[in-house]
Amino acid sequence: MKLPPLDYALPRSLDEAIALLSESEGQAKLLAGGQSLMPTLAFRLATPALLIDLAAIPGLDRIEITAAGVRLGARVRWVDIEQSEPLRTAHPLLVAAMAHVAHYQIRNRGTVGGSLAHADPAAEWPGLCVTCDAIIEVIGPAGSRLIEAGAFFSGPLSTHLAEAEIITSITLPAWPRGRRWGFQEFSRRRGDFALAGIALHYDTDAAGRVLDPHIGVIGACHSPHRLRAAEQAISGQVLDDVLIEACAQAGSAEVDPPTDLHGSARYRRALVHAMLSRALQQA
């Protein structure tokens, strides 16, 4: 399982990286943490001629917390999020989800930008971005643009990134005080990809009614998406057991999970029900 022949470049700026990407005519791949890319190369499922390592580009590893929200540079690692004290209050859902991301060593290298570009539907981070209406900033030969996370993924392991575009940052909208959240996932083992997972948050009014619920599915999908019917089921209502059940049913009805060795579509649908119900109870 030795990696295929390839060249390696370590550009010092985004401009340089974009130029390398453009020149490669689709034969290059970006390298961030490499924690998904390198296994793919080891199985020779991808054979890029050139890897462009983003490690030396300044400014991509910053975590900024502003009134607008949490802005994560594309090269921010899972461990940076886990260890960030301010993020615990600035975005508790984000921090909670990190505990489910891969393994300890992987979290020391895996990055938020890399994970989005890899676009694994069973990964936590893409699902979280979709749930939280994250804004993804990308830069390419024509300059930079913003993409809503909900419009970023085009299917399993594929995105709407253009050929020579690079993810530079992800912004999660500001987290109001008192926001309720839940994160639940089921995987066969600790650190494995989710068979099904739910990330959710909502606010409440003075009467305790659910406002602006965001519910996203992970794993039991072809790419992560919001569960609109489930959100609809609780929006404007005070949560109780009956409502939680109705929401869980709505959510499990609107997913279209894949079938594989570890679980059939029917089973994953039931898991969505259970995860959604538990995430609401957790919130």
């Binding site: 296994p39 089921f186 089973y267 039931a270």
Partner: protein
């Protein structure tokens, strides 16, 4: 072997360094006079392994060494139309590329059945066995995904893999047989054209009169049980390195094998070279568990290639290759029926089963015969009839893995025990107790032949006692039932599962030991056993130290090296401690006679006046009147100044090959408490206890390590691990992303209770324990899940116990209740 010595300098230096490090840091000082057997002595192996100086096959670097990559079949079943090596041959750094057709011209066909069955078995058991004889590389057909088709040798593994990608296979697809029952159909495509069908073997054994006992039984239960396919999956994959020495015409083969002498024999036959010109060594081996317990095609092909290119050649199996070419195991379908009386006593047991052996059958009926001969387990079953068929499919070949047929037997028998209990409204523990062979019945004749051809006799122990101890260790039955009811009232589902087994251990035909007194006075032992992490260097030093009244650090050992002893069998089947301890004992006993005779000559006394004392031979009751073992060794030397008694041969070395009369029976009971999350189907193990008997325990710490390690493999197999195939014969578990080994979070704390009934069949009273831990967990967990879900009447009769299967069973049961 000049070239070899030059190449091995670095390697041997490191080994020597390690041995020194070991003796320095492992001086162990027990209470004087206490035997070392029975003590938890730290392992002498540990130091080198902990400082990164282990010597695994991939750490071997010889000057000029070339590297190998295989081209393996991407499909399950196809006719090979053409293998085009030309592009690979032109690739950078390539020295040689070979396909099956090339080999056929260079080497004789592969020999018959690797593991011969004893004549006694052949005449006792009705059987038919066909050996399809696996070639070293596929010739006319590929028969499973991962079967080696061609091989490339290059300057580095990177370059070899680059070139292997350029080999063009022209394959004509054939229907894949993935279901062994379908493969038996009259119109099924036959996988081996020289066989008449896909059935490669069959046999039947019986005792008593099953027909009439079953017919007259007050109750009968008939079920189908399926034990799924999983595998040893050691952390170190396989690996082989070889070098040909031009001067002597000899080969050195380093392999991560469990059977160096067996490998030497096969290599001798395949390469056409006398055994004396083949030297096989297994260096540090990163786990075997049976998966490295027979000779693989690569073991023979790599030395052949080393001869072809006249350079050292190394092949390291990568994980992808391992999943699709190292043997899998288990994979049996049983149709079993039990007849029993109103008290739950078994009257008759009938079982007809199929083993899916995959594309080849490297060890004949070894596994299914184990299943059959262990099916009655610890129970007094008066009538039994067991028949087996071995069926070829387009999957990875099936070969022994820790337990080797016994987990499958336990799944059948132990599920049936619970089903009997359920039928009669009895506690599963009570049904087991009523059926178990009691301590008073020992030795207990089973009246079925073992695979050595000898009629089985359980040689001692207290089966009900072990069961009770295991259940007590999880809190006792009444306490658990109360806990279970309380949990249920809170909406939680707890279950208790039991799994008992018996295991024939220490099987023959033999293992030998050469024991020598080194001129330094230290003991030197050489043997054919091959460790892969069991701690053999430690325990055999303990055993030898007791034989000679020296400290374990005075004992040197060479294992897994055909250069050190002329015959050996190897480490499989829970046999090494049993056979080798006996061989060391016998060789030592003989050698002691000679040592005493020489010492008597030196001390001018009679042999009978002497005893071993702190590394010396001393006159009984006379302090200071002694000679050291070093003095005796010097006196034994041939030559002018020898001080041997007249007429005695020179030298102080004895070799003894122990041939056990038959196996000695270990046994255990496992008790598992689980909680089932119904919405997810997830099983969490809350408590787990094992009460076992392996006779005299040589090193309790290491024994417990073996048992727990085995149990965790059983838990992995029970709940997670699976070699799954799709309908086209594609392996779905081809990586560690999809083959789910248990992690630290997946395993419970396991309590181990030793129950020591010394074996009467060998001088030290030991029984084997390497495999036992892995036998019971799948069925104990299945029983526990059934117990947790008893209100739904759910039966788990197949493994693995996937969360989805539980979820589905609950869903179905709820639907039928509603």
């Amino acid at each position: 072997m000049t070239s070899l010595d030059g190449g091995m300098g670095h390697y041997t230096d490191r080994l020597l360094h390690c041995e020194n490090a070991v003796s320095a840091s492992f001086a162990f000082h027990p209470v004087d006079g206490q035997p070392f057997v029975g003590q938890s002595i730290p392992r002498r192996e540990d130091a080198r392994l902990l400082i990164g100086r282990g010597q695994y096959i991939n750490d071997l670097a010889l000057p000029g060494m070339l590297h190998v990559a295989f081209v393996r079949s991407p499909v399950a079943h196809a006719r090979i139309v053409n293998v085009d090596l030309s592009a690979a041959e032109r690739a950078p750094g390539v020295h040689l590329a070979v396909c099956g057709a090339d080999l056929l011209r260079a080497l004789p066909p592969v020999q018959d059945q690797q593991l011969p069955l004893p004549a006694k078995w052949k005449t006792t058991v009705s059987h038919k066995i066909f050996d399809p004889r696996q070639p070293l590389l596929a010739i006319d057909r590929v028969r499973h995904v991962g079967e080696a088709v061609a091989v490339v040798i290059a300057e580095s593994r990177y370059l070899a893999e680059d070139a292997a990608e350029r080999v063009v296979l022209e394959l004509e697809s054939l229907p894949a047989q993935v279901d062994p029952e379908a493969a038996l159909a009259a119109d099924a495509v036959v996988i081996h054209q020289n066989a008449s069908s896909n059935q490669l073997a069959e046999f039947a054994i019986a005792k008593g009169d099953v027909e009439s006992a079953m017919a007259s039984a007050p109750h009968r239960i008939k079920r189908r049980f399926y034990h799924h396919r999983y595998a040893a999956v050691p952390m170190e994959c396989r690996g082989v390195a070889a070098q040909f020495d031009e001067r002597t015409g000899s080969y050195t083969i380093w392999s991560s094998t469990q059977v160096v002498h067996w490998l030497r024999r096969e290599a001798s036959q395949t390469l056409g070279v006398p055994e004396a010109r083949i030297h096989c060594i297994a260096p540090d081996v990163g786990g075997g568990f049976g998966g490295k317990g027979h000779v693989y095609p690569e073991d023979l092909l790599i030395p052949f290639l080393a001869h072809q290119v006249r350079r050292p050649v190394k092949w390291i199996e990568d994980r992808r290759e391992h999943q699709q070419s190292a043997c899998h195991s288990r994979d049996q379908i049983h149709d079993a029926e039990v007849g029993f009386d109103n008290e739950g006593r078994v009257l008759a047991l009938r079982d007809a089963f199929i083993m899916d052996c995959g594309a080849w059958n490297p060890v004949g009926v070894g596994i299914p015969y184990n299943t059959a001969s262990h099916l009655c387990g610890p129970y007094d079953v008066p009538n039994a009839a067991i028949s087996a068929r071995v069926v070829a499919t387009n999957k990875v070949p099936n070969a022994p893995y820790r337990g080797a047929g016994r987990p499958e037997a336990a799944l059948v028998t132990e599920r049936l025990m619970d089903l009997i209990a359920h039928t009669l409204g009895l506690e599963p523990m009570e049904v087991r107790r009523r059926n178990m062979v009691s301590a008073q019945q020992m030795p207990y004749p089973v009246h079925l032949p073992y695979r050595d051809g000898v009629s089985i006799v359980y040689d001692g122990g207290d089966y009900p006692g072990a069961l009770q101890k295991a259940v007590d260790a999880i809190g006792g039955l009444p306490a658990f039932r109360a806990e279970q009811a309380a949990a249920r009232a809170q909406g939680r589902y707890l279950g208790l599962g039991l799994g008992s087994y018996t295991e024939g251990t220490g099987v023959g035909p033999f293992e030998g030991a050469s024991v020598r007194i080194d001129p330094s006075g230290r003991l030197y032992v050489a043997a054919g056993s091959c460790p892969q992490g069991q701690g053999m260097e430690t325990i055999f030093a303990q055993i030898t130290a007791d034989q000679w009244q020296v400290k374990p650090e005075q004992v040197m050992l060479t294992l897994a090296d055909t250069g050190a002893i002329s015959m050996g069998f190897g480490t499989v089947a829970s046999r090494s401690t049993v056979n080798l301890s006996a061989a060391i004992h016998e060789a030592s006993t003989r050698l002691r006679k000679k040592v005493f005779a020489i010492a008597a000559n030196l001390l001018e006394c009679a042999d009978e006046d002497l005893e071993l004392r702190n590394g010396t031979v001393a006159i009984k009751g006379v302090p200071g009147k002694s000679v050291s073992l070093a003095d005796v060794a010097r006196a034994s030397r041939p030559g002018w100044d020898s001080k041997r008694p007249a007429g005695m041969d020179a030298g102080l070395e004895e070799t003894y090959y122990w041939e056990p009369s038959t196996v000695t029976w270990s046994y255990a009971s496992h008790a598992a408490v689980v909680e089932v999350d119904l919405a997810l189907g997830r099983v969490k193990i809350l408590r787990y206890a094992i009460a076992h008997d392996c006779g005299v325990v040589v090193n309790p710490m290491l024994a417990e390590g073996q048992i727990i390690g085995g149990a965790v493999q059983g838990i992995g197999g029970g709940l997670m691990e699976e070699m799954a195939y799709d309908s086209e014969g594609q392996l779905l578990s081809g990586s560690f992303m999809d083959y789910l080994l248990p992690t630290a979070s997946d395993v419970p704390s396991i309590t181990v209770i030793h129950q020591e009934t010394p074996s009467t069949l060998n001088p030290l009273g030991v029984k084997g324990l390497g495999e036992g831990g892995a036998i019971s967990p799948p069925v104990a967990l299945a029983n526990a899940v059934c117990d947790a879900l008893s209100e739904y009447g759910i039966e788990i009769n197949s493994t693995p116990i996937r969360p989805e299967a539980i979820w589905q069973a609950v869903k179905t049961a709820r639907a039928s209740h509603a």
